[in-house]
Symmetry: C2
Subunit: 386 residues, 2 copies
């Protein structure tokens, strides 16, 4: 086989684990949510090559369906070949040049992450801070823009760590008047709560697949408008990340079809199906369904004597933070729900660790029967651990 | 739903493409190869969360199975949440610090890519060059190490653009004597051709899922030995890429289980199944199967009057570059095979564009019936386009 002698093959590490048989979890945490059965079916379909005419057609359909979901006409609207964090990094890596002032709204875990990423890419990071669970007013945003005069303002529309929805109406206009790009994290809002990229003047946005789109994690939407693309195409420096350099990736997703990396074919199949379901249902109907089921859940929580961490008007329909009652071990409830009922919810992060549970009703999982089951299970869990 | 008035939802971009129905392609190009049916089945299985005890077990099994496939005991052996290019970038981003001299063997497209990535991360890139399709001798490598005294030597074990297999016996010892890390691209060799990470003294290696492992693209193995980890853990600077920072990712894949990003659950399911198939078959048997089918294919090519671009002793069993005969339009043959027989092969890249076809017999696709079919189809195609 080779001209030189090969070493012996060892059977260390040659294990024979059993066939995969995942437990039937109902994923009501902050994500992943359960994929729609049609999405799982699409995921397992036979492959074609990443330059196959059939796949090129799939790519075009995905771009178009993403535009509908985001309510944007942006030409550059693509899925990044990684998870939501990869799309977040793609946005930062391409939009931030060393020395750029970037103002980040930090009222939760993902605002912190934006700061960390922007700093690694050489950004001059300024923080606009607020307690976890609160949101920024237009006045606060304007004052911060006035003070910092940033090249980019980054806000988290739907903070997965707190369950708060940042109002965005008017922020885009403000940013334009300050000649600043508006970058928005829509990981937990896309396909679940009202979101208008163009009408709200958002210049760049990214999301994940495993939240309100009900597609498994591993592919992540990204959109840049012309203002954002102008910045990307006129960079003085190359993007440090080759994998996430959108001038290169864009040549594969654009008409040039230049090979960059092998697209994750099956994850793209799955995302297409997830987005097809969004287009079938219609955005208004889908948002209303999320809101209705969330309201039902919040009423049920009140009946159980439980309180939400975020005030009603800023609460995300897709993710609720519920305060852990005094004297209750929150982590014990999480384990109880998983071990007794195969239900996943999550503990709080950062300053909310031990203080809240994070409960998601996202995409396919936003169904009235899940609300009923979860409320019953929570009642049982609380009775058991108190 | 919100306290402010929402813009109207528009139905621009609300398309209704038909149900996914990919053509039944036989993927005999440079990758992706067809996934094994058991892998596609695993891919579509119901999800659990990325911190679910069941998934943590799956993660441990994947690490162990990867160690077997790579013949390594490396503790840090994980799948990166992206395609092979992401794992390549993870290796470069973590091992190269600004100013580090990195010597790259450039005898094909992926050597070029290594140079580009290393340069973006601040590496002082030195090129050891050879014509596409040739390999480096131990003497040439030693001379270059002597000249450049690099911190890292990067070689492509299996050049997907040329079909050449770089001999690695003795290179590890050389690198150790020059106090240099050996980084190896094993994208098109892992699971298909002989590869011994530990016995060959390889310090860091990465691969893809969609070649000889017969798993869809979207997840990519990476391994660092203790020498490589020592460099990573003693960096003077943070890794620019947060997504690919292995000190953070390692805390999720290690015992700490600290959340970093949401792992692509289903892609991990698929990789586990692909690696389980490798462990079932056995590496020696698998390598022999690849070699036998390649030899059969090469004999058949000779019968058709076709020549291989790489000399026999350095030919990859997983990927063959076949010279396009004089007077034949290579691209036309590629299209003919796809449109008439649903067979994918690929054109040459770079200096080999128009000169060769790239034909893969990888993983599940390395079967005698595929060799017979491909040879017949090639005969028909040549008769038709001449």
């Amino acid at each position: 086989m080779n001209q030189f002698k090969l070493p012996p093959v060892t059977d260390f590490h040659r294990i024979h684990p059993p066939q995969l048989d995942p437990p039937p979890r109902l994923l009501l945490g902050p994500g992943p949510s359960n994929a729609h059965p049609r999405v799982l079916q699409a995921l397992g379909m036979r492959q074609v090559g990443h330059l196959d005419p059939y796949f090129l057609q799939v790519m075009e359909e995905i771009k178009e369906l993403l535009r509908y979901a985001w309510q944007t006409g942006n030409s550059f609207t693509i899925p990044v070949s990684g998870t939501g964090s990869a799309a977040m990094e793609a946005a930062i890596a391409n939009l931030v040049e060393p020395g750029d002032v970037i103002l980040v709204g930090v009222n939760g875990y993902f605002g912190e992450r934006l700061c960390e990423m922007a700093s690694r890419y050489g950004g001059d990071v300024r923080r606009l801070e607020k307690a976890w669970g609160q949101v920024f007013s237009l006045t606060e945003i304007q004052e911060a823009l006035e003070t910092h005069r940033p090249a980019i303002l980054a806000l988290v529309h739907a903070e997965t760590s707190t369950g708060a929805a940042q109002p965005l109406d008017g922020v885009g206009e403000l940013c334009q008047s300050y000649d600043c790009l508006l970058l928005v994290d829509t990981v937990t809002s896309l396909g679940g709560v009202p979101l208008f990229v163009d009408a709200w003047g958002i210049d760049a946005a990214y999301s994940g697949s495993q939240k309100c789109l009900s597609c498994p994690p591993g592919i992540a939407p990204l959109t840049f408008n012309d203002r954002a693309m102008e910045k990307v195409l006129n960079r003085r420096t190359k993007v440090t990340s080759w994998y996430l350099d959108m001038t290169l990736v864009g040549q594969y997703w654009g008409q040039e079809r230049v090979y960059h990396h092998t697209a994750p074919i099956n994850m793209n199949y799955a995302l297409r199906e997830a987005l097809r379901l969004v287009a079938e249902e219609g955005l208004s109907e889908r948002w209303q369904r999320h809101q209705n089921n969330a309201e039902l859940f919040w009423m049920g929580l009140a009946d159980l004597g439980l309180e939400c961490h975020v005030e009603h008007q800023h609460r995300l329909a897709s993710l609720t933070t519920v305060r852990v009652p005094k004297g209750v071990d929150g982590a014990k409830v999480v384990r109880f729900l998983r071990s007794h009922y195969n239900i996943e919810i999550a503990n709080g992060l950062g300053p909310l660790a031990g203080q809240v549970w994070r409960i998601g009703l996202m995409g396919f999982n936003s169904r009235v029967e899940n609300v009923l089951l979860l409320l019953s299970a929570l009642r049982e869990a609380l009775a058991s651990v108190r």
